[in-house]
């Protein structure tokens, strides 16, 4: 069992009160598993990804635990987390295009970063890893402005996984790319796992279609909570949660014309997390909702490895 997250609660401090971005989320990621994390903006997926490696100044760890390979991960303690960062948990950030310092040659930055973490550079290994994502060793002599967006993205992927972390958090890495680059990056990520360079991965995206291709398991989040978690094939073909169903129905398919049926969106918008309503948070937008939904549905394993938080599932 690589990663176990138990009842994790993370709030954002604001002047108007706490925003409950992550309100009791539990799940596990096994060795070699790629977990796809999907949901609308503001559902808590990026908050979850950040919580696993580095909370920003406004985030507060309210409760819950994270365990990695049997060790407790001190997510709320910025200093104590440093031992885990890079060595055991690493990040390919949303902002890969601007993640590299513009005034340092990439090779020098990697050397200085590794030295600061007490690791010496194995140049041969570094070149080999760059070759795996289709980059030549001369990239190390370049400044970031001399690389294209896709090259920067791949360079960051190589740097982040240089110390063979147990867990890689990939946050919206494909969102800014065109489809062919998306495919290349997705393949590269799966390749990292297949070669054992990272043990397991949390792949955060809003692209349900892409996730279902590369993830083993897909977890759908809604308003700071888990809605449904199932093997990728099951989730896309036999979803149980009404939110997942509507999310799938909202995906466009290439070549389908309007006369063959219109895409249905999801009416309404997610609730404010400043003071979320009691009970199921999808209730207001759910076509199936009834009185029972005023009570918060527990996460239930309805089939092997298939978890759903819905009374109707």
């Amino acid at each position: 069992m690589t990663l176990t997250v138990d009842d994790l609660r993370v709030h954002y401090r604001t002047l108007r009160g706490d925003v409950r971005a992550l309100d009791g989320v539990s799940f596990t990621v096994a060795d070699g598993e790629i977990l796809g994390l999907v949901g609308e903006s503001g559902c808590g997926k990026t908050t979850l990804g950040k919580s696993l490696i580095r909370m920003d100044g406004r985030m507060r760890h309210i409760g819950g635990t994270v365990t990695l390979d049997g060790d407790d991960v001190p997510v709320g303690d910025d200093r104590a987390m440093n031992a885990f960062r890079f060595h055991r948990i690493s990040l390919v950030p949303q902002y890969s295009m601007s993640a590299l310092n513009p005034t340092r040659r990439i090779g020098r930055m990697v050397r200085e970063l590794l030295a600061s973490r007490g690791v010496s550079v194995d140049t041969g290994e570094l070149h080999r890893r760059l070759a795996l994502v289709g980059l030549g060793p001369e990239v190390l002599e370049r400044y970031p402005i001399e690389l294209s967006g896709g090259m920067k993205q791949r360079t960051v992927m190589v740097i982040s996984t240089l110390l063979d972390p147990s867990l890689l958090v990939a946050d919206e890495v494909t969102s800014a790319l065109d489809v062919s680059n998306q495919k290349a990056v997705a393949h590269a990520l799966v390749g990292l796992r297949d070669r054992g360079l990272v043990t397991s991965m949390v792949f955060i995206t809003h692209d349900l279609a892409l996730t279902s291709h590369i993830a083993d398991t897909v977890m759908v989040m809604y308003a700071g909570r888990l809605a449904e978690k199932a093997p990728a094939g099951v989730l896309t073909t036999a979803p149980r949660h009404p939110y997942t169903r509507r999310l799938l129905a909202a995906l466009p398919e290439a070549g389908v014309r309007r006369s063959q049926g219109r895409l249905s969106g999801i009416e309404g918008s997610p609730p404010s997390l400043l003071s979320p309503p009691a009970g199921c948070r999808f209730r207001d937008r759910c076509p199936l909702a009834d009185d029972r939904c005023a009570e918060q549905p527990p996460v239930v394993e309805v089939a092997p490895r298939h978890h759903v938080a819905c009374w109707k599932a």
Binding site: I53, R54, N82, F84, F86, L91, A99, R104, L113, R117
Partner: protein, 330 residues
């Protein structure tokens, strides 16, 4: 690279020509007649003598020739290093008057500009993201940078000079000694140098500290800093990277500020009666001494242009983006 410098050099040459032309024009179109001023100083009353003197001076300074000829002649003698004769301390050549004052201004300006830049940047970088320091350095910085040069100069002269009596408030050296290469003169000049230096240094210091603090905070919030933190890099490394990036706009700022700093130095010199170019300009204006005024302005323009060119060179060395940009993105 060569094209870049050729273009830069062309801009500097054009600026120089323009500055020299304006410089030549301004005193000539100012009200007042320097020759009459000199004649009245001589207190001659016979009209024939006055006429003779006027003719002599007009011929000597070339005022009897057409304006365009005066302009060309000005350029010709300028290129030979001849700035003409001073009217104020007639018949000393302007160049020797200026060269006598130049060391004082340089001794004031160069340390004040460089030290305030270094110390200000260092203070600002230190203050950024450190609560206690930030709450003291920032208000102090705003206070200093908002002070007019002459006001802080008067304040320092009153506090440290008149009240405490630590430093002399006037002149470049004591009246009872002559400038010589002796230890005695050097310590005396240093003693006189402290207050004007301090007033220039303090005003500039505040601006640099505030600029650097803001730039560092911006850099620490930048994505590349977040990435380093996410990979557990120590604060020391992250701050070092942020500092390196934050210094770049400060170097540009130095180039932009040079003119303002020169103006500040001139005002400060006048307050402390310091025998540099500032006092020279004042004397030249009071005595309608065109040639001295022109020569002094010209020296200042040349100085600012040279300093800007040096900063251009430094920028190419420290910012790889200008370097790779010039090499055609390779």
């Amino acid at each position: 690279m060569r094209r870049y410098f050729a273009r830069k050099l062309l801009v500097y040459v054009l600026t120089f020509v323009f500055a020299v032309t304006v410089n030549w024009m301004i005193p000539r179109f100012m009200p007042g007649d320097p020759v009459s001023a000199m004649i009245s100083r001589a207190r001659v009353s016979q009209p024939e003598a006055v006429e003779a003197m006027r003719a002599y001076y007009n011929e000597l300074f070339g005022f009897d020739r057409p304006v365009w000829e005066q302009y060309l002649h000005f350029w010709g003698s300028l290129l030979q290093g001849d700035f003409g004769l001073s009217i104020w301390v007639f018949p000393q050549p302007v160049s020797s008057v200026i060269l006598g004052a130049l060391p004082y201004t340089l001794a004031l300006m160069v340390p004040a500009v460089l030290l305030s830049w270094f110390v200000g940047n260092w203070l600002g970088a230190l203050a950024a993201r450190r609560k206690v320091l930030d709450n003291t350095v920032l208000p102090a910085g705003y206070l200093l940078t908002a002070m007019p040069y002459m006001w802080i100069a008067v304040l320092l002269a009153w506090l440290l000079g008149a009240k405490a009596g630590w430093f002399p408030v006037s002149g470049g050296y004591s009246l009872d000694i002559q400038p010589t290469w002796t230890w005695h003169f050097f310590t005396d000049a240093l003693h006189h140098w402290v207050l004007p230096f301090l007033s220039l240094f303090l005003v500039a210091l505040g601006g640099w500290a505030i600029g650097m603090r803001n730039m560092i905070i911006y850099e620490l919030e930048a994505d590349h800093s977040s990435y380093l933190s996410a990979l557990g890099a120590p604060q020391r490394l992250i701050r070092r990277y942020a500092f390196r990036n934050a210094v770049l706009p400060q170097i540009t700022g130095l180039a932009l500020q040079l003119g303002v700093l020169v103006a500040g130095a001139l005002v400060t010199e006048i307050v402390f009666n310091y025998p540099g170019l500032g006092s020279l300009i004042l004397a030249a204006i009071q005595n309608r001494d065109f040639f001295l005024l022109q020569g002094t302005f010209l020296f200042i323009v040349i100085g600012v242009l040279i300093a800007n060119f040096i900063i251009d060179l430094v920028y190419v060395v420290v910012d790889p983006r200008t370097r790779t940009g010039m090499a055609g993105g390779r």
